[in-house]
């Protein structure tokens, strides 16, 4: 009898230990490294992305996590490309992170993905856009946001399909000018626009790069004024975008349509700084908010919750890059991780490559289908999302309205031609 009792006690104890171990494992959080610029010149947008990602993390954890496991973020401050590399190395080697995400700006994305790839870590890039990010033969880097050329294409398509008609001119007769900040993002978008306008047979009357830390915009604005373009496409960061607009007003430089590309022209700071002067400007960017009819019904509910939470927290609606940051990590939490068993980078890579989500599957209207060295346009490309949505929205008195492409649009483009400064 005693032998039986001892045997039962041993079996009970072993079962309890096994169960406890199993429960403990099930409850272990999935740790994800988030590399964003939280200090330094890009901090403004980095922090907005961080807030959006935290909302995604809280929403998924409140829904019980991923297969019962909570999501936990490990933060790295990718303030510059050098810092991005060292911070990525730190969280990989010291914290044992095998999944990273971030990193807002292209130069940072290039650095983070390089460090992650070196350690065989799975990197889920949210908003970095430079083409080179996915053209280095990396196997574990996936860029959910649109590549730089798409921003430019959206701007040029908008000019051809919408602005030219409103100006009652054939697109080929329009005097188009291109101004780009000369770092990774601006150059990449500028290169894309130059190539695309060439294909569309539109001549650029002005095409120059500048340093985003420039303190005086007089020479740029004066040269543009001398060239008299009808439409200006500009790629800038927040501070230089503000300086440019103020100088344009000072020197009375007017265009019939102004299209900023992402970054500086999509930042809420622009309205805070230049007030109503912002009304009428177009922005080619991730859509901050798309026509809800293009979203799948379950995605629409997630979108409503995200926008409400973000506005409650930040007291303003999210910019396009913040909505894109949310969309990307939400896709990671709901489309990639739940299908994983080991959460090893190779397994996650296979899952990511299998994704085939139609447009409208993500909160910002995007779908997901990644390249895998099999894209006819560029066989060197791997991990680029071919279904990332990019459109054009317009600053208005009440906020911002999506105006292009027609499928995503919530409003029609207005204020074309843009009134001259004395009437704005």
């Amino acid at each position: 009898m005693r032998v039986w009792l001892r045997l039962c006690a041993c079996l009970f104890g072993a079962t309890a230990i096994l169960l406890a171990g199993g429960v403990a494992k099930a409850q272990q959080p999935i740790r994800i490294g988030v590399l964003l610029p939280l200090t330094g010149p890009f901090a403004k947008n980095g922090i907005e992305n961080w807030e959006a990602m935290q909302i995604a993390r809280d929403m998924i954890n409140e829904r019980g996590g991923v297969n019962g496991r909570k999501i936990e973020f490990v933060q790295g401050d990718a303030t510059s490309p050098n810092a991005a590399i060292s911070e990525t190395e730190r969280i990989i080697t010291k914290d044992g992170i095998k999944i990273t995400t971030g990193s807002f700006a292209s130069p940072l994305a290039i650095a983070v993905s390089q460090a992650a790839e070196r350690h065989g870590v799975f990197h889920w890039e949210t908003t970095g856009a430079a083409e080179i990010i996915t053209r280095r033969g990396f196997k574990h880097t996936f860029q959910v946001g649109a590549p730089a050329r798409k921003y430019g294409q959206a701007a040029v398509d908008f000019v051809i399909e919408d602005v030219a008609k409103r100006l009652k001119k054939p697109a080929s007769d329009l005097r188009l000018a291109l101004l780009w900040e000369n770092r990774a993002f601006g150059k990449s978008v500028g290169d894309g626009i130059r190539a695309y306008t060439g294909i569309k047979k539109i001549k650029l009357v002005y095409d120059e790069g500048y340093d985003q830390f420039a303190t005086d915009m007089t020479p740029i604005v004066q040269k543009l004024k001398d060239e008299k373009p009808d439409v200006l496409i500009a790629i800038s960061f927040p501070n230089d975008a503000i300086l440019f607009q103020r100088k344009a007003k000072e020197l009375d430089f007017n265009v019939a349509a102004f299209i900023g590309v992402s970054a500086g022209y999509s930042s809420p700071d622009l309205r805070n700084s230049i007030g109503d002067m912002v009304n009428g400007l177009f922005v080619a960017d991730f859509p901050p908010k798309v026509n809800p009819n293009v979203l799948k019904p379950d995605v629409r509910k997630v979108a409503d919750e995200f926008y409400k939470r973000y506005e409650d927290k930040m007291k303003r609606p999210p910019a396009g890059h913040a909505a894109a940051g949310f969309s990307a990590v939400w896709a990671l939490f709901t489309e990639v991780l739940p299908k994983g068993k080991t959460f090893e980078p190779d397994e996650l890579r296979e899952i990511a490559l299998m994704l085939d989500l139609p447009e409208g599957s993500l909160v910002n209207g995007s779908g997901i289908k990644f390249t895998n060295f099999d894209w006819p346009d560029d066989p060197k490309d791997a991990g680029q999302n071919l279904r990332a949505s990019i459109g054009v929205w317009q600053w208005t008195k009440s906020g911002n309205d999506q105006v292009f492409p027609p499928k995503l649009a919530t409003h029609e483009a207005a204020m074309v031609p843009l009134p001259v400064w004395s009437k704005r």
Partner: protein, 294 residues
């Protein structure tokens, strides 16, 4: 011709702003013979101050001078006592690293307290000044005039007042000055605090023209260093000439060559001056060791 005129006038006016923010740096360098690597962050701090006085209290940024200049004088005095003074008799690198550390510290304090948002004050004058076909902001013109007044005023203080004499004596020979009864440590303190107060003045002038954010100093500090070295280390009127040179070269090269090369050209000018006039345009031989020019 209009374009050339516009570029030159704009270059001169923005050059005046560059000079104004560099005068404090050159003054400190001339007397204490130290380089304040946190100069840009002093500017940032003062711009936040000017923004707060303007936005929260409803004053004009030029009126904010009355609050910001004394506040920056006090702040400079505190920084001197706590950070600069203990490192003065130690190897040069101590002060270099101390001011660099202070720079990073101030940037991050600003980021924590003010977030990375860009803050602005509303324009003071709603219309540009128009002279013929030339247009420029009234705030820029006013800033340039303030720079001229500041340069003249500072020269007068250095040449005609007892404090100025004491400063010059300290620069020429600190030990002899001390033997003559000049309180050299106090002269150092007043100069550092005064240099910081001048940054405060520059911040109030710049606030209607530029946004303030935690790293705004980085956009200007490199220009300030070039202005100081180009004009002649320790030379106040040299800073004015250096600022204008940079403003005009930047403006013309950005237009006639390419905007991306604006900085390259003023660095070429900088290199040429360093090769042919190593002490700067108005610097005198050995300025780096004897300090402010007589």
């Amino acid at each position: 011709m209009t374009t050339l005129g516009q570029l030159v006038i704009s270059g001169i006016l923005i050059g005046g702003i560059y000079a104004l923010m560099s005068i404090g740096l050159t003054l400190i360098f001339g007397v204490l013979r130290i380089v304040n690597f946190a100069h840009g962050e002093f500017l940032m701090l003062a711009m936040y101050g000017a923004w707060a006085v303007t936005t929260l209290l409803g004053f004009n940024p030029y009126v904010a001078v009355l609050a910001i200049v004394p506040a920056m004088f006090l702040f400079g005095g505190i920084v001197y006592r706590i950070i600069i003074s203990p490192g003065l008799d130690k190897p040069h690198l101590v002060v270099v690293f101390a001011t660099m550390g202070l720079s990073i510290f101030l940037q991050n304090v600003a980021l924590m307290m003010m977030t990375a948002d860009l803050w602005d004050v509303p324009p003071i004058f709603s219309h540009a000044v128009i002279v013929g076909a030339l247009r420029f902001k009234a705030e820029l013109l006013l800033g340039f005039l303030i720079t001229i007044l500041c340069t003249v005023g500072l020269q007068w203080v250095i040449r005609a007042t007892y404090l100025g004499k004491a400063i010059r004596a300290t620069v020429q020979d600190g030990e002899a000055a001390m033997l003559m009864g000049i309180p050299v440590p106090r002269i150092f303190l007043i100069t550092f605090a005064g240099g910081s107060a001048l940054v405060g003045l520059a911040a109030c002038v710049m606030m209607p023209l530029f946004s303030v954010f935690p790293t705004v100093g980085l956009n200007f500090v490199l220009i300030a260093f070039v202005v100081v070295v180009l004009g002649g280390m320790g030379s106040i009127e040299g800073a004015l000439i250096g600022g204008i040179c940079i403003g005009v070269v930047q403006s013309l090269s950005s237009y006639y060559v390419a905007p991306a090369f604006g900085q390259m050209f003023f660095f070429i000018l900088f290199l040429l001056v360093m090769i042919f006039r190593p002490n700067g345009i108005l610097g005198q031989k050995g300025a780096a060791t004897i300090g402010i020019n007589d």
